[in-house]
Each structure stands twice: as structure tokens, then as C-alpha cells.
């Protein structure tokens, strides 16, 4: 690693042995109120002894980083799955009921497993609220969607399709940027890992996902299709990352990787059937770049980190004096 910590663990003040020859000149002390027999511009060797560089910068291992960047792949895959499913429903008149039922079964199953496992691991502590998606909320969302789907269907009816696609694209882009990926490889062994886990709450990306689903669904023709598609999108874009987060929190790594594998291949299959092999190859190149290229670029950038710390007060620039 290039960025080593240049920490000199020396005690404050210079260590010097009181030799009889030097006794006449007392050693220099970093105290302004003392009158010392040194010139004003004198700089002692011990002056910067307490300077520390890059104390808060963590060491990263490449494979841990790849592991983290897989989360990006997971989330983009889930976004793509919804968009691809929509294009299948919209262009090829696929039935939207089947995938919704399948995803519903899997999400209920998944959260059931997580909750059971959670209780078996830590029966004493209360499970964190993210896994607390109980039956009530689930039914509530379903019924609200059912009520509102006729309205949702008419929302962008008079607008052109292109504007809906453009809006959807912008929303997806924002979603990937603002999503809380909850990577934690640098502190995976530290004490703070539990704290970071409990802070996972991707409010903005949740909202954007739902908005995207509404915008896409409003182009569909029948009310039931709108309802089923939005339900599907909620499960894939919102509940799936939540489930994955809980799986990782419980350290069920095999389940996490198998989930990623299934999702990734599902997306590959859909791209192949809907868009052809050429696009699939582009997609693979993108995935390769995200999963393997970006971690190495991240490590490359670490070398330029230069953070200084010392026993002094930092100067902060004062902007906006008024």
C-alpha cells in the first residue's frame, strides 16, 4: 500500500538526556509563555513530532472492494429488471401477473426466513426495524395501490410516450446516484459495523424508485396491469435491497451471493430476449468495469490522500462573513 501511516508515536516534547555539557542551555519547550534563550525564528527538531498523516484513512483489500462493488451491480440489476419487465409488458404484451406472483412469494419467503433466523440468532434483542416489514404494511400497500391504480393509469395519458421515457431515465439515473449502497468493507471487522448496519435507510432512493414505477405504469393500458406492475416494481426495487441488506447483516453470505447470481442472470436473460446479444455484450462490459475496474481505480486514487492532523487547531476558511 502506498499510503502508509506516518505516525511517530513519540511522547510530547523531545527526549533528551541531561548531559553535563548541555546543562547550561535548557532544552526548548513548545510553550509561548516561557522566556527561553532561543531566537524567535528557532525551530526545534521536535516541532512536528506530533504531526500525523492519514490517520482516518483505512486500508482496503481489493477483494473486499469487489465484494462491495457487487452491491452496485445488484442494485442496477434490480432497476434494470423492472425496466426490462416493463418493456416486455408494454411492447410484447407479457402478462404482468405471473412475475408479480412469483416475486411476491419470494419476498414473503425471504422476509420470513430472515425473521426466523433473526430470532434464532439474537432472541434477546429486538430486531431492527428494517426487517419489521410486517403483514399489516404489506396489505396496506397492496390495497392503496389497488385503490389508486385507476388514477395512476390516467396520469400521463395525454403526454407523449417519449417524455415518460425521458422522465423514467432521469429518475433511474438519480436513483443510482442517490442510493445508499451501505458498503462497509473498510470497517467490516471494526466495532462500528453494527452501527452502520442500523443506519441503512435509503429514503430518497425508495421514493425515486416508486416514482419511476408510477411514471412507467401510467403508460399501461389496463388497471390490473398498472396494479401488478407497481407491486412488482416495489418488491424488486425496494424490498429486494432491504432483504439483501438483512441477509448481509445476518452474515448469510451464501444466500447473498446466490441472490446476486439469480438476479444477474435473470437480467442477462431478459436483455438477451428483449434487446439481442449485442446489447448483452455491452452490458457485460459495463458489469466488468463496475465490478473489477472501479475498485482498482478507487485503490489507485487512495495514494493521493494526504490528510494532516496535529495537536493544533485547524484553520477553517470563513466564507460569508456577513
Amino acid at each position: 500500500m502506498a499510503n502508509e501511516l506516518l505516525i511517530r508515536q513519540s511522547s510530547p516534547g523531545p527526549k533528551h538526556t541531561p548531559s553535563p555539557l548541555l546543562r547550561r542551555v535548557p532544552s526548548w519547550k513548545k510553550l509561548l509563555y516561557l522566556k527561553q534563550s532561543y531566537p524567535d525564528n528557532y525551530t526545534d527538531k521536535s516541532f512536528l513530532s506530533q504531526l500525523k498523516r492519514n490517520t482516518t484513512v483505512a486500508k482496503y483489500s481489493y477483494f473486499n472492494l469487489v465484494d462491495d462493488f457487487c452491491l452496485i451491480l445488484l442494485y442496477i440489476s434490480s432497476l434494470l429488471l423492472v425496466v426490462l419487465m416493463f418493456s416486455g409488458i408494454y411492447l410484447h404484451r407479457w402478462n404482468s401477473i405471473l412475475p408479480t406472483i412469483v416475486s411476491s412469494i419470494f419476498s414473503i419467503l425471504g422476509f420470513g426466513i430472515v425473521q426466523i433466523y433473526d430470532k434464532s440468532v439474537k432472541p434477546s434483542t429486538r430486531p431492527s426495524q428494517s426487517s419489521e416489514l410486517n403483514l399489516k404494511s404489506f396489505i396496506l400497500i397492496i390495497f392503496i395501490l389497488l385503490i389508486l391504480s385507476p388514477i395512476l393509469k390516467s396520469l400521463t395519458k395525454s403526454a407523449a410516450s417519449d417524455s415518460a421515457w425521458a422522465l423514467s431515465f432521469a429518475l433511474c439515473l438519480c436513483n443510482t446516484i442517490f442510493h445508499d449502497y451501505s458498503m462497509n468493507s473498510s470497517f467490516i471487522h471494526g466495532k462500528q459495523s453494527q452501527q452502520i448496519f442500523s443506519q441503512y435507510k435509503p429514503i430518497l432512493s425508495t421514493n425515486i424508485s416508486l416514482s419511476n414505477a408510477i411514471v412507467l405504469a401510467s403508460r399501461l393500458t389496463s388497471t390490473s396491469q398498472v396494479f401488478f406492475f407497481i407491486l412488482f416494481a416495489v418488491q424488486i426495487n425496494i424490498l429486494l435491497p432491504l432483504l439483501d441488506f438483512n441477509i448481509r447483516r445476518l452474515k448469510l453470505h451464501i444466500l447473498h451471493y446466490s441472490l446476486l447470481f439469480v438476479l444477474f442472470n435473470l437480467v442477462n436473460y431478459l436483455i438477451f430476449t428483449l434487446l439481442g446479444s449485442k446489447i448483452l455484450i455491452y452490458w457485460f462490459i459495463c458489469v466488468f468495469f463496475i465490478v473489477f475496474g472501479m475498485p482498482s481505480y478507487f485503490l489507485f486514487l487512495q495514494r493521493y490522500k494526504n490528510e494532516l492532523q496535529g495537536p493544533w487547531d485547524m484553520h477553517k476558511p470563513i466564507i460569508n462573513k456577513n
Binding site: 426495524q129 419489521e132 416489514l133 399489516k136 404494511s137 404489506f138 396496506l140 400497500i141 392503496i144 395501490l145 389508486l148 388514477i151 395512476l152 390516467s154 396520469l155 400521463t156 395519458k157 395525454s158 403526454a159 407523449a160 442500523s198 443506519q199 435507510k201 429514503i203 430518497l204 425508495t206 421514493n207 416508486l210 416514482s211 408510477i214 411514471v215 401510467s218 416495489v234 425496494i238 432491504l242
Partner: protein, 629 residues
């Protein structure tokens, strides 16, 4: 430094009798001399009546070369102008025309107060200038300073103003002294005159009681709604009656000065908006009285003309009003616009068809109901009843125009417009409420959308994560519901806004029309017509301050001319123009109100009009003026 104020008419007298020596009668303040009268012989001034007691001989004027034997201060000679016998350095001889007080001429430093629109605050610029003046020129601050009292302050100007009166009184006193006669007798004429005046006073006070009752009646509030507050005709009637009610006081203040200066409680009880105890309230009362009379007369003349015009062209006006305005613009065209906005993609904007259809149906149904109420109900009347109605309207308009004038007709027009466009107001009101509600919901849901919420208790925006461990933090279902509603409302906002914009523009048109008519009404009611005529005729009567003109310099003394500076046109019109902008306003916050979904309306400041006319605040007390007779 010596200052001598010398009246111009005495110069003429001096010219006639150059050879005779005169005593100068007048006042002396430190080194300022004010010459009031010339006398040939010395009089014992110790016996003067009390109101003339400060008058004395201040000097002499003679052309003879013999040395001065008397012990007065001032020794003048006369050529074409008076000059000092022994030349004094730094001396000023100020010539002035003695103001004719009976013609309401006088000198004043303060400009006359004709109208007022509230006290004006000094701008910071002016205040700094005044401060500077206080620092540089501390002399004017202390009038008791012996030597330097040089400025023509109010005391000196008052003596000058009263010079003719004092002259008359002096003459009368000397006459009395010589003849010792008093003629106090009542002629038969005077008795009859008194009786007639008593009858007139009785009639006028009776009328005034009636007027006060009427004002009370139209201002009587039933659940905070009075006739005045809902109708512009009654608003105008209120103003007119208050003007009439104030006439006796304005008139009597002019003819009986004891009312003004006698320290009566009456004027205090009336709570006049502005009251300067200076001389010029008398003059301004006179000017205001005749200005108001003139305008009322004008108003009625215009009203009669308008009435004639309307009923000469009656056959042409009614179809235009009925078919053109009510049927076309207020109904069928509006129906077209509503349907255009609701379903036909107005100006290419892709609005939500379903919602547009729904809202358009609501509005057009209301519009049809309004048409049924306004138009059809009149059309379905029997021709006999229609004719009766027409006669009734004609008589009403005749009373309005002949009794009140054009301003009443305009007020009636405003009332009619308000009544006919009530449906536009209703549409505007509802669409504004819908828009505002939607905007409010979107604002708060937007905070939820970005993961924040508004903290009411601390008036700030908090993160949702702040209450991580509490049960109050939002569940995912609540979050999703919020987003769902947010998206729906955002996507429906353009449709709601289109309706809002349409009705906003309609309401704005109505308001602009009403605003125009109100401006016309102000023009008829408040133009300072009499003041302009007075300025053209005798500008000395519009005191705007005094002015010194340099005439010449001879014998080490300067000759100045003291004259009146009359009010400039900008000063006359300043408050008048202010009424247009300040008595009603809706423009300053128009765009802000439009975007925020606040209702726009013309905000009136009716007080200002009374203020401008200097009408009393307590109108009932005007009747008390008759107690002082």
C-alpha cells in the same frame, strides 16, 4: 446688522410728502425694525389699548439736514427709497407689500396645508442635512440670542401680516381719542337680519341632523356588514354626506374666527386628521370648502350629461349590454374557454384529460346555473313587468345622476360589475383554494420525498433519521403512501394550474376594470380644481413660503424685496396623485400572490380619502357648532 422692514405703500406716501418729517410707528425686536405706519405728530403711546400695547415710535424719517434731536434709534432719509442717515454697515432694508388679510393673503414660512395623506417621514437624506444645518448654524436654534436675531421668524412675519389691521385699529383709536364718541345702536335692519339668520341656522341644523342620521344609518353594521361596505354607491353617498356635514364648520371657521382661535373644545372633539393652529388653517378651510363645492357642482353637471347620453342612446346600449356583454363575453365565450382548457389541450399543453373534464364540468355547470339566474330569469318576465322595471331603473338613475352626479353613476357601475361577475369571483375563489391546498400538500410531501420533515415545534426541517430509535419514525408503508400521493399531485398540478391561471386572468380583468372606474371616481371627487384657478388668479393666496429678492445696494445697505412664493403645481398635485396609488392597491404583490395561491383583491384605504379632504373623524359632533352661537 440692522434690518428694517418697510411697507411699499408707505413709500408712495413719502413720495407725496417729501418735505414733511414723519415718525415711524412700528415694532422693534433687538435690531429688527418693522415699520407699520407714518405719523406726523408724536402721540402718547402709553395710553394705547392692550392689543396695540407693543406698538411704539421706533424712529423718524426726514429729508432735512438738521441734526436729529429725538432719542429714537432709527433715523432714515428718503429719496426714492428710504435710506439711513448715518450709513450703517451690514444694513438691510426689506420692502414688502402689506398683505391684505381680508383677502386671505399673508406671509408664512410653512406652506399652506390643503390636503394631507398622512404625516411624511423625513428621509435619511433630509435628516442628515438638517443635522448638518444644526451643527453649522447654531444661531437659529436660540431665538433669544440678542444680537443675531436676523431671521424672519414667525413672530416677525405675524407682525407684518397684521400690519394693515393694526393700522386700522390705530386709526380708529386716534379717531376715538379725538372725538370721544361711541355709536352703539341697533338699527331695525340688524334685528331683521338676526331673525333671518336664526331661521337659517335652525333649518341648517335640522338638515345636519338628518345628514348625521343618514350617515349613521348607512354605516350601521349588521354582523360586521354595512351598506357602505358592500356597495360603492353607498360608499360614495357616505363620502358626500360627510362632506356636506362638514360644510357648516368650514364655512363658520372662515367667518367667525373665534371658533378657530377661541380655544373651543369643538374642533378638538371632532378629531380632525390634521390640525395646525397656525394662520393658514383658516385659509385652507376656505379653499377646501370652495373646492368641494365646485367639484360637487361639476359632478352633478357631468351626471346630468351622462344621464342624457344614456337615455338618448338607450336603444343601442341595451342590446350591447345584454347580448354582447352578458350573453357573449360572460357566458358563451367563457364556456368555450373552459372547455378549451379542460379537454382540448390548451396551447399544446398536455393536461390530464380526466381531471380536466371533471373540473370543466363543474365550472360549466355552475356557469349555466348563473346564466339561468341572471339572464333567463329576466328574459322570462312578462313585458308589462319589464316595462315597469325599466321605468323604475330610469327613475333610480335619474335620482342618482341629478342628486349625486357622475361619481354616483360610476359607483353604481362598479356595483353592477361586481354583481354580474360574481360567478367569475366564485370560480377564481375555488380554483385558488384548490391550487393552494395542492401546493401546500406538495410542499410537505416533497420534504418527505427527500427524507426530511418539518418540525413544527422548532420551526425547522429535520431529518427523518433523527428519531431512529423512536417508534415515531416513518415505516416504509407510510413512506410509500406519501410518495404515491406526491407523484399523483405533481402530475396533476399542471391541470389544476391551467384552471387557476384562466380564472386568475379573468378576475384580474375585472379588477382592472373596477380599478379604472375607481380612478375615474377619484378624478371627479378630488381634483384640486379650485386651487389651480386660485393659483392662476391670485397666487399670493397659496402660501408656499417666503422669498427674498435682492434689489440693489446703495449707501452700504442692501435692498431686499419680501414676497410670497406660491405653491408649485407639483406641491398642489402631490397628495392628489398619492390618492390614486395609496387609497387602493393590489399591484405590488400581484405575482407573489399569484404563485403562492393567495387571493388577490383591491385593498382599500377609505380613511385616506377622508384624510385627504380633512374631514373630521367624529361626524356626529359637528352639530355642536350651533352651541357657539
Amino acid at each position: 446688522m440692522v434690518q428694517v422692514y418697510f411697507p411699499n405703500d408707505l413709500i408712495k406716501l413719502c413720495k407725496k410728502s417729501k418735505e414733511i418729517d414723519h415718525f415711524l410707528i412700528g415694532y422693534k425686536f433687538n435690531r429688527i425694525y418693522i415699520v407699520i405706519q407714518l405719523l406726523d405728530t408724536a402721540v402718547d403711546f402709553n395710553k394705547l389699548p392692550s392689543h396695540l400695547s407693543d406698538l411704539k415710535i421706533i424712529g423718524s424719517i426726514s429729508n432735512s439736514d438738521k441734526p436729529v434731536d429725538n432719542d429714537y434709534d432709527l433715523h432714515l432719509s428718503f429719496d426714492t427709497l428710504p435710506y439711513f442717515k448715518s450709513s450703517v454697515n451690514d444694513s438691510f432694508i426689506i420692502l414688502f407689500d402689506p398683505p391684505k388679510f381680508r383677502n386671505l393673503e399673508y406671509f408664512s414660512i410653512e406652506p399652506i396645508l390643503l390636503q394631507s395623506t398622512g404625516r411624511e417621514l423625513l428621509t435619511s437624506d433630509q435628516a442628515s442635512l438638517i443635522n448638518k444645518l444644526n451643527v453649522i448654524d447654531p444661531i437659529t436654534e436660540s431665538p433669544n440670542n440678542d444680537k443675531n436675531s436676523f431671521i424672519s421668524d414667525d413672530i416677525i412675519l405675524e407682525k407684518i401680516n397684521l400690519s394693515l389691521k393694526v393700522r386700522l385699529e390705530l386709526k380708529a383709536w386716534m379717531h376715538e381719542n379725538s372725538e370721544n364718541q361711541s355709536h352703539n345702536y341697533h338699527s331695525v335692519d340688524q334685528v331683521i337680519q338676526n331673525k333671518i339668520i336664526n331661521v337659517i341656522v335652525f333649518l341648517v341644523s335640522l338638515l345636519q341632523t338628518l345628514i348625521i342620521f343618514l350617515i349613521w344609518l348607512i354605516n350601521y353594521q349588521i354582523k360586521s356588514v354595512s351598506l357602505v361596505s358592500i356597495s360603492k354607491v353607498f360608499r360614495q353617498l357616505d363620502l358626500r354626506l360627510q362632506q356636506l356635514n362638514y360644510f357648516p364648520i368650514q364655512f363658520l371657521c372662515y367667518y367667525n374666527k373665534n371658533l378657530l382661535y377661541g380655544g373651543s373644545k369643538l374642533l378638538y372633539e371632532l378629531k380632525l386628521p390634521i390640525f395646525n393652529s397656525n394662520l393658514n388653517i383658516n385659509n385652507s378651510n376656505y379653499i377646501n370648502l370652495f373646492n368641494t363645492l365646485w367639484l360637487i357642482f361639476n359632478d352633478i353637471m357631468f351626471g346630468i350629461t351622462a344621464y342624457r347620453l344614456i337615455f338618448d342612446n338607450y336603444e343601442r346600449i341595451i342590446p350591447v349590454l345584454h347580448e354582447g356583454v352578458i350573453q357573449k363575453y360572460l357566458f358563451s365565450e367563457m364556456l368555450d374557454v373552459i372547455s378549451w382548457v379542460s379537454v382540448k389541450h390548451p396551447a399544446g399543453f398536455k393536461l390530464n384529460i380526466k381531471l380536466g373534464h371533471f373540473m370543466g364540468d363543474l365550472y360549466s355547470w355552475t356557469l349555466k346555473f348563473w346564466k339561468f339566474l341572471v339572464n333567463d330569469s329576466i328574459q322570462n318576465l312578462s313585458p308589462d313587468f319589464k316595462f315597469k322595471l325599466f321605468i323604475a331603473v330610469k327613475i333610480f338613475l335619474k335620482i342618482l345622476c341629478y342628486g349625486g352626479g357622475l361619481s354616483f353613476l360610476i359607483g353604481f357601475c362598479i356595483d353592477i360589475i361586481n354583481a354580474l361577475t360574481v360567478h367569475i369571483y366564485c370560480f377564481y375563489y375555488t380554483s385558488t383554494k384548490i391550487y393552494k391546498r395542492q401546493l401546500d400538500i406538495i410542499k410537505s410531501l416533497f420534504q418527505l420525498f427527500r427524507g426530511k420533515k418539518y418540525n413544527v415545534l422548532r420551526n425547522r426541517i429535520d431529518n427523518l433519521n433523527n428519531y431512529e430509535d423512536d417508534d415515531s419514525s416513518l415505516e416504509i408503508d407510510q413512506l410509500l403512501l406519501g410518495t404515491l400521493l406526491f407523484m399523483i399531485l405533481i402530475l396533476l398540478l399542471p391541470t389544476v394550474f391551467a384552471f387557476y391561471l384562466m380564472f386568475f386572468l379573468m378576475q384580474l380583468t375585472v379588477l382592472l376594470a373596477i380599478n379604472f372606474l375607481e380612478n375615474l371616481q377619484i378624478l371627479v371627487n378630488f381634483t384640486p380644481m379650485f386651487v389651480i384657478l386660485l393659483k392662476l388668479k391670485n397666487s399670493n393666496r397659496l402660501q408656499g413660503g417666503i422669498i427674498f429678492t435682492f434689489l440693489k445696494m446703495s449707501n452700504h445697505s442692501s435692498y431686499l424685496k419680501l414676497s410670497n412664493k406660491s405653491l408649485s403645481y407639483s406641491e398642489i398635485f402631490r397628495d392628489f396623485f398619492k390618492i390614486f396609488t395609496d387609497s387602493k392597491t393590489f399591484r405590488d404583490t400581484l405575482i407573489q400572490f399569484f404563485l403562492q395561491g393567495e387571493l388577490i383583491s383591491i385593498k382599500h384605504n377609505y380613511e385616506m380619502k377622508f384624510h385627504y379632504l380633512m374631514l373630521p373623524e367624529v361626524y356626529e359632533k359637528t352639530i355642536n357648532i350651533w352651541k357657539y352661537f
